[in-house]
Amino acid sequence: MFDFLDSGQYDLLGAFWVTAQLALYSAIGSLVWGTALVAMRVSPVPLMRGFGTAYVNLVRNTPLTVVVVACSFGLNQTLQVTLGGDDFKEIGFRLAVLGLTAYTGTFVCEALRSGINTVPAGQAEAARALGMSFTQVLTLVVLPQAFRAAITPLANVLIALTKNTTVAAAIGATEAALLMKEMIENEAQALFTVFGIFAFGFIVLTLPTGLVLGWAAKRLAVKR
């Protein structure tokens, strides 16, 4: 059943390694960008709040394919942005990370915002009364508690992100979905085996994410 894999024609592990890297870099990027977005959304500066709200509502409601393809055609082919990549594969990978980060950051932002709502307003008031700046109140008191409260929704976002990396195939990043497409074309007789292999590969990537973060959510919960 799996004999077509023995030909050495398909680099399954390599493709999933690219998927894992895409997911990892995009996860780091979207956690940082999502945190910046949520800081804007709760900031006292109306311009920042306005930008945060507009960005989240615009990008969150745009299909990911559109965002990623816009990165490739818009940024790369029209504006010649390469993000320091040398060849087509590398540029595609970096643009995919950019697109995934821009998109997933909005969901991270909203998960964190729900986490912020679990922090009693009085604690922020107490922090301000001690003389802390807005940034200190946010980074020392509000966000550490918001992150812990938002671990479960953040796990959802990260699992969705891992699976969303398949969209990067559209701009030529050599990840799992691109290889799957190639294998479906060449190995039509083993169609369901191919599906099974890739489904299993993604479960291997996402299941631990869910389990580890589920455990962390319980472990790190702030007692009230």
Binding site: P120, E125, A126, A129, L130, M132, S133, Q145, K223
Partner: protein
Amino acid sequence: MSGVAVSKDNEDAPRAQEDLVVLSGVNKHFGALHVLQDIDLTIGRGEVVVVIGPSGSGKSTLCRTINRLETIDAGTITIDGKPLPAEGRELARLRSDVGMVFQSFNLFAHKTVLENVMLGQVKVRRTAKGEAEAKARALLERVGVAAQADKYPAQLSGGQQQRVAIARALAMGPKVMLFDEPTSALDPEMINEVLEVMQQLAREGMTMVVVTHEMGFARSAADRVVFMADGRIVEQATPEEFFSNPRSDRAKDFLSKILHH
């Protein structure tokens, strides 16, 4: 009446220099509700002022305007001669000199008791960690919760949490302490442990503004009682004078309701 500061030696010229918190012509609205109406209040250095009055009289709001947790629509507030700044670094600096204790304690739930008392010192005052910890432990000792230093707020009783909150505010070395109904969320048997700490502070000469329903505390610790109703300061006097001989009908009515059962 509301414009007069009734501190003990009000007429003495040097006393005027000792004014620490001065509110004049302060007005505030919550929508159509006029919660603070032409408030004039002067608090001298070392003075303990207890603000009492019925619910909704504006006493908590008054307390919160002093460190600008509530903004005001009109009037001025000065602390130690400096007008209260608008938002920003200046305001933060001023707030660090004004300690505040809340009804609901508001300890940082993700930090231990010790960390709660250290955080402001280290992050706002830029005190070295070791020094901040020593001060925090001494303050926790002073309010009687030193044994709980490594616990989280949720593991403490209400009375213990409130005493930690007092230590947290004291750690900043404030010029004045604001207490916004500090015992209202406590079980009855825990009220005294908090009031005792406050009594001790008052004896040590801390300038205090205390919004409370604890008439016993007002009697024993206050230099002056300020009675508020419907957003106005109706009457202010020494505790003996106020409790034995209230002048306004509003105050007589209030006292008759709370003292006769």
